[in-house]
Structures are given as C-alpha cells and as structure tokens.
C-alpha cells in the first residue's frame, strides 16, 4: 500500500521508508494514515481498578467512545448482518493494572448452553502481541504475527476453564473469561497461563463487561501495555445464533495509554 503510493516519487521512496521505519514504534501513527481508529483515551485512576461493571467510576471518569460493529465477511461462515451494531468502550489504568469496559444493548441474556440448539452471549477484545510493530491482519492475526484475545462468555465451567462466580443478585452463576492466542483463523488456542480476569452484568437490556489485567507481566504470549496499543472488538448475540465467525466486529481501534 505504502509502496504503491510512493512509486512516482523516486527519492521520496527512500526518505519515506526511513521515516516510517523510524516511527514504526509509534503505534499512534495509524490514526494519521487511517489504518486504525477511533482512539479510546484511557483514564488514569489512583485507587484500585473499578472491576465491577457498575462501579460509579465508569460513569464519571473515562471518556466513553461509541464504536460501530460491522459484519464478518472474510471467512466462512460469513455473517452479513450481526445483531449488535454498536458497542461503547471505556478504559482505565492505575499504577499496576488496566481495565476495559464494553457496554452494548442486548434485550436477551443468553447464558444457557445446555444443548446444541442454544447459543450464548460472548464478547472479546484482541491485541497484537507485539504492540509496537506493524499490525497483524484483522483476521485473528497471521502466521508470525500472533494476537492476544480475551474472550468472555455468559456461561462457565468449560473443560475446567476459569469460571467466574457472579454475585448472587445478578442471577448468573458462572461466566468464563479466557486468555487466548491466535495466528490466523482456525488457530485460536487457550494459554496455559491465564492472566485475564473479568466479569459482566446484564441489566436494563444491556451487558456491561469489564476485562482487567496487570499492565505488564512476564508472559511472552500476552500483550504488554507499555504504550498505546491496537485493539479490536467482537460481540456475539446468542439469541441471534451467533458463534465463531458469525459476529459483529470492529478493528483496529487505538487504545491510547498516555
């Protein structure tokens, strides 16, 4: 893409290439060239992270960014008309951790997965593992360019995966948060070391979901929040039989750390 644009300029090719390589560590450049957006400005917080989706901090502190979700039309099964069209994103960090809150309308809470005709609500965020380098394709990463995916499901206890016990008032017994990697379609894999936590509440025909994790850790398969990072979002609506590639997606967005 870049090469194509530079072709007529000769000398410029070299200069621009130098310029781009010099700035490759600055992921925020994607806002200028249009390869990412919108930006989500992360709020700073002195106290402990607001891990409860209805912590008053969420409605007072961070800027809420409305992100449009589009269809998944790259791989089969394609999904031209996902039922969730928009998700509101907020993010906050403190000295050690980060929390990301997704909020979307969903008139049905689909949390029963007991037989094959049922589908559950799900949502996920995705980051390039190498946050400072050229972004992998939106296709769940690509060979040699892994992504780190945090996925939530409104149902728990899968194959001993980490289940989260909800508070008794919300009616949910278990949910699942998974810390995953992928290098393209068909390659999604659970990590041995699960570092992400999270929790969702369904109230007033809305899901509010919070993922949280330490800003950095020693896991080479995890994204490290030392700078701004790219982020993508997916939402699956169970009552619309959404699962797998049948989802609403947005990406790449820019999660601004500064």
């Amino acid at each position: 893409m870049i090469q194509k644009r530079m072709k007529p300029f000769g000398l410029w090719t070299v200069l621009l290439a130098l310029l781009f390589s010099a700035c490759s560590s600055n992921v925020e450049d994607c806002l200028q060239d249009g390869s990412c957006g919108p930006a989500i400005q992360m709020a700073s917080h002195d106290g402990s992270l607001p891990v409860d989706p209805y912590d008053p901090f969420w409605d007072a502190g961070p800027v809420a960014v409305e992100v449009e979700l589009g269809p998944q039309m790259i791989t089969n099964p394609k999904w031209p008309n996902p039922s969730t069209k928009e998700v509101t994103v907020r993010a906050v960090k403190n000295s050690s951790g980060i929390a990301i809150m997704l909020e979307w309308s969903d008139p049905t809470r689909d949390s029963n997965f007991d037989h094959s005709a049922l589908y559950v609500d799900r949502a996920a965020v995705m980051f390039p593992v190498a946050a400072g380098e050229e972004a992998p394709l939106i296709t769940m990463g690509e060979s040699g360019k892994p992504v780190n995916i945090w996925q939530w499901k409104a149902v728990g206890g899968e194959r001993g995966q980490p289940g989260v016990r909800d508070n008794p008032n919300s009616g949910l017994t278990y949910q699942t948060i998974e810390d995953l990697n992928a290098e393209g379609y068909s390659t999604l894999t659970d990590q041995n070391q699960q570092d992400v936590k999270g929790f969702a509440v369904w109230k007033n025909n809305k899901w509010r979901l919070v993922f949280h994790r330490s800003l950095t850790n020693d896991n080479a398969n995890d994204v490290q929040f030392k700078q701004s990072v790219l982020m993508a979002i997916a939402v699956w609506n169970g009552s619309n039989k959404e699962l797998n590639g049948q989802k609403g997606i947005a990406g790449w967005l820019l999660l601004k750390l500064g």
Partner: protein, 425 residues
C-alpha cells in the same frame, strides 16, 4: 473449491479440501433384512461410550424405524428437502452412464457441498442444527407402518398422502429398520465445516475423530454433518462423535491378543446383520481390487451393499443391503440406483454370496479375507422364477496375518442333547 473423485456418484465432486486418502478405510455392511430392532447394538454403544452426565441424549449408534423414525427426528427428510430446494427437480441419477469410474451410474444433481453455491449460502455445506426436542426420541415412530390400509384408517395422521402412496403386491404396508452409526465418510461434512480444523480423518484407517482439545463447541459439525452424528455435549460445551471404537480396531483389547476387533455395536449384534472391516486404498486413492476381502466383495465386487444417501456427496463408508419389502423408489432415494441389482442378487444368492453372508457376526475379530470350501447340495427351489440351489459349503474367515479365525457352514449344525443329560447346556 477443489474437485475430488467420488466413486459413489461416478464423478468429480466439490469438496472443501484436496482429495486425500488413508491407507485403509473403516467400512461396514448392515443387512437391513435381518434386523429385529432389539437395540442391543445401541446399548453396547451406550454402555461403552456415552454413559456420563451431558451424554444422556447421545446415541452414536441408533436403530430407527423407517419411514417415520429418525434420530434426530426427521434428519433425512430435512436434509433431502434442503438439497431439493437448492436444485429443484434436478437432483437425478443418470444410470445409462455406468462405467468403471461410475459403477452405479452418474449423479447429475448437487451434493451438500455443491448446494451452497446454488443458493448463495456462505458456508461449506448446507445443513441445520437439530432442536433439543428432535434429539429426544431415538426411535420415534417405532414399528409404525406405511401403506394403503394403514393410511386409509388414519388419514390425516401418519402417511396421509392422498393416494400417492406406494403399494406393494403382497405387503400392503411396510416398514424397516435402519441401523446407523457415523459413516466415517471419505469427504466428511463435519470435517469440512469445522472452522477450527479440529476434526481429522486418521491416516491408518480413515476413522473420523474430533480432537477434544481443539474443539470449542462451535457446532458447525453438528450443523453440516448430513447424518447428524456429531453431537454437542452441554456439560463440556464441546462436541463428540462416534469414534469407531478405535482401540478395538487397533487390536488393543487384550481379549484377542493383538487381533484387530470389530466395534462394540458390531460385535453385540443379535440379528447377525453386521459385518465390519477395513478395505485397502490403493496409491491412486481408489479401493484396491481385493475380492477376497468380504467388505470389498459385498460393496464393490457384487454391489450388494450400497451407501446410505450417496447423493449427499460425503462418500459415506457405511453400506446397506436394502430391504426386500420396501417400495423400490423409497429404497432408491435412500441407497441410490443400485437397489434393483442388489435385491436381485440377494434374493437368489449364488454359492459365494451365500457363503459370505454366513460370516456376519460370527466373530468379533475383523475378517480380512474369506474362502469357500465346497460342500454337498442340500436344497433346491425356485424363487421368483429363478432356480436357487443351496450347497452346504464351508466358509472360512482369516485375520490380517492370514490365520484362520472363523469357520462356518451354510447349514447350521444340528446338536442333539444326550438323553442322560437332558438339562445340560
């Protein structure tokens, strides 16, 4: 999408992946004429593999009463209807085009893999996910017959088909039992559908398995297997399917000291309707010529055993001897155009065929080779104008190494209990 050779359709057909074949293929022959629906096979399966929480509804082996039964309910009605709607009136066989490459003629309709392109569907194969209710009754419609008297007395309930029903000269009503396990297809719908590539076909025996560590319960296999044999388990949130009792196929059961064994459902068959084996696949991907193998003999050499719904296009490896008492059109829809040929031979079997038919369910070791030793003529009659002579031949089955594992005669031996031991066994 790649084109693969499907011998059952007599033509190249669309599939998601390139053509590739195992060294041997797991196959079985079910003689529907012999089945009494005792469900012993079903329970042998159940007590071996699906007795745990979350598996209550799973019957990897089931026996359903046709035409009304089905597990899940209406599975074949539904997929045939979808196939028809994708290519109305065009899903036909051309039986004039028989050749070495098209032993049953050429299917000129579309398969489940070819139908999506016809209707602009964004998936590998047409299919659907059955409802919870459809899975609940493993033999709904049990022993419910179809025919003139029955439909006249209960018009509007079952079979209210307003005079278009099939009528047989001797049997005015009919039904039969269809025994089903996973067909371990050459071109599996489940494998094509899996977005995670968690399903694979084993190189050594063609058995199709779901990798339980890779499955994430997307249920695309449940949706796109036309035979509905992958099943979703609510407690683990992932899918399971018939594994062809592969430890037995591998000869790991200590009972036979390394001899490869038939699956549990085959070995338990009371009605002696089942014979299971492995056929060799040649380097060109086709079945190696091997008429001494009872599977090859029945399926390819004599064409007595026919695939189940070959038009679906997965090249299933379960083969059936169609029931004599069923209207031919119904059987042809189910087993393809080879039905007349199959029944003609089955009704008046020659000495070889009658011999191989004796081997069904005589040993739980896999028979790789059979041999017939001639015996005296013991019976003669006419069947539908054809002369039938029965000889008390001896039929011998051998294991992979050529060792004799079974020896039976056409006429069952008659044992007289000695007078001094009237109650002895």
């Amino acid at each position: 999408m790649p084109e693969v050779y499907n011998w059952q359709l007599g033509r190249m057909a669309t599939y998601v992946y390139d053509e590739k074949h195992p060294k041997e293929q797991f196959t079985f022959v079910f003689n529907t004429n012999r089945c009494i629906a005792c469900q012993t096979c079903t329970m042998a399966h159940k007590s071996t593999w699906t007795f745990s929480k979350g598996q209550e509804y799973m019957w990897w082996n089931n026996v359903e009463t046709k035409p009304y039964g089905g597990y899940p309910q209406f599975w074949d009605w539904k997929i045939l209807k979808m196939l028809e709607q994708s290519n109305p009136g065009q899903n036909v066989w051309n039986v004039r085009k028989t050749s070495n490459k098209a032993i049953h003629g050429v299917y000129e309709g579309v398969t489940i893999f070819e139908a999506p392109a016809k209707i602009g569907l964004n998936q590998q194969a047409i299919g659907y996910v059955p409802t919870d209710e459809e899975w609940r009754f493993p033999n709904f419609g049990e022993d419910t017959a179809h025919g003139r008297e029955f439909t006249q007395s209960r018009e509007g309930t079952f079979g209210g088909d307003n005079g278009t029903r099939s009528v047989l000269p001797e049997h005015k009503i009919w039904f039969f039992y269809l025994q089903r396990i996973c067909n371990h297809c050459t071109y599996p719908g489940c494998l094509a559908a899996c977005p995670r590539k968690a399903i694979y076909k084993r190189q050594e025996d063609g058995i199709v398995l779901i990798d339980q560590s890779r499955c994430r319960g997307y249920k695309k296999c449940v949706e796109q297997c036309p035979y509905k044999k992958p099943m979703f388990r609510g407690t683990t949130r992932i899918s399971e399917k018939c594994i062809a009792c592969y430890p037995r196929i591998e000869g790991l059961d200590p009972l036979t000291e390394g001899d490869q064994m038939e699956t549990r459902c085959m070995a338990a068959c009371v009605g002696k309707i089942r014979l299971q084996g492995l056929v060799k696949i040649g380097s060109n991907g086709e079945w190696a010529h091997d008429p001494d193998n009872p599977q090859y003999y029945l399926i390819r050499d004599r064409k007595v055993a026919l695939p189940l719904y070959p038009q679906l296009g997965t090249e299933p490896n379960g083969y059936y001897i169609p029931s004599r008492h069923v209207p031919r059109a119904y059987s042809q829809q189910m087993f393809g155009p080879g039905v007349d040929h199959s029944i003609d031979q089955y009704m008046v079997p020659d000495r070889d065929l009658l011999g191989v038919l004796q081997l069904f369910r005589t040993t739980q070791r896999i028979i790789f080779k059979w041999k017939r030793e001639p015996g005296p003529k013991i019976f003669e009659t006419n069947i539908h104008g054809k002369k039938f002579e029965m000889y008390n031949d001896t039929v011998i089955g051998f294991n992979r190494k050529g060792k004799e594992i079974i020896r039976v005669t056409v006429e069952e031996p008659f044992y007289v209990r000695p007078e001094e031991h009237p109650g002895a066994i």
